[in-house]
Symmetry: D2
Subunit: 120 residues, 4 copies
């Protein structure tokens, strides 16, 4: 069920680590730290912007943000490889769960409701 293009990326990333003898550092614990660090580097771009400014990025900022997102995806794929997790499959299953958890008629609209459900 896994996607060929994603499997190919995972394999390339594994080889990249292996040839550098870096797999020894890629425990799930360490990879979760690296992933979180990359997520914060993304966050850093937006910390002092208004929401509107975060929509209207300059081309330079847009490219920098895109590369931070690539870094996050790289560690997400490395971790899914190390833990033998099918990311696409799990994402589809999580979306089905979310469909049931947040029924349209119940949550539609206000940010107040959105927040409450989000924290549930």
């Amino acid at each position: 069920m896994s996607e060929p293009a994603i499997e190919e990326l995972k394999l390339k990333l594994k080889e990249f680590a292996q040839v550098r003898d870096w797999e020894q550092f890629h425990s799930p614990k360490n990879l979760s730290m690296a992933l979180s660090v990359e997520a914060s580097e993304l966050l850093e771009h937006f910390q002092w912007m208004t929401e509107q400014q975060s929509v209207d990025l300059t081309p330079q900022r847009h490219a920098a943000v895109a590369f931070e997102m690539a870094d996050i995806f790289i560690f997400l794929l490395r971790l899914s490889d190390q833990l033998n997790i099918d990311l696409m499959e799990m994402t589809k299953r999580k979306m089905e769960i979310n469909e049931k958890r947040y029924p349209v008629e119940k949550v539609k609209g206000s940010s107040k409701k959105y927040n409450e459900y989000d924290e549930a």
Copy 2:
């Protein structure tokens, strides 16, 4: 160049948000926050484990970790949609950059070197 399976997921996630009138909350600034929060929920599973324990997860913990990773991927796809970024393409480009930035003969082996290069 973008992957059909990923494009399909992005579209489903967009519809999920639209039908709930939640797109109003999905500014890049807010999505970067949500993504970072999910990355920390992943981190939380591993915070008191040894590295070895993070490899040898119980089935229950493994499933919980897999769903946290799905949550991260969901917000990564939502953000790539809102900012019109081709995640697969950017990841390939970032991997090419990393190949040049970390030449095998220069970085192979010790964690000390790995750390130094990592921070560069």
Copy 3:
């Protein structure tokens, strides 16, 4: 009940922001982002280290880590000022809650128990 030394720091940090006309950026939302970014910069130092290496820091690394912690404290104080929160008082109250939540006879010892209680 608040500590004079901490109140003095808070005041200095407020003046630092005011004289630069930066208070406009210091909404609680933005400050929580900045605080999280600083926490990840701390995390980054340790991401590829073993636990033992994180104990035995070089003097240079130790100093860098100490300054990251100062950055976290700075944003914690800024936020406590903006939200009018007495950090010392809340910390004492949280410690009393923790005393009751984690009774010694119930949680002492194994990491397994520690993890379970931590997630409760």
Copy 4:
């Protein structure tokens, strides 16, 4: 130079960990993870709010936010104890550095300038 009130808190937190035999889990690496997790729990409160909403918190939300900040401070103090760092002293030193790094006449005002200096 360290503050008696802060030293007292650090000592109480150390005793809390020792009597539960939890110091074995409190390596700097693990504590940096716990601190980052708490910072994200703070972030989570604000992720879907506007900046203005983050100023106008309900009393319930305000209290919850205050306790998250206490959790962050607790791990910051635990880490400063484990690494033998004087948090107040380092914060004063960092503030002096910031005074020089961001001269008023150079950075006053616009968010654009603020962002640029922030990333330097």
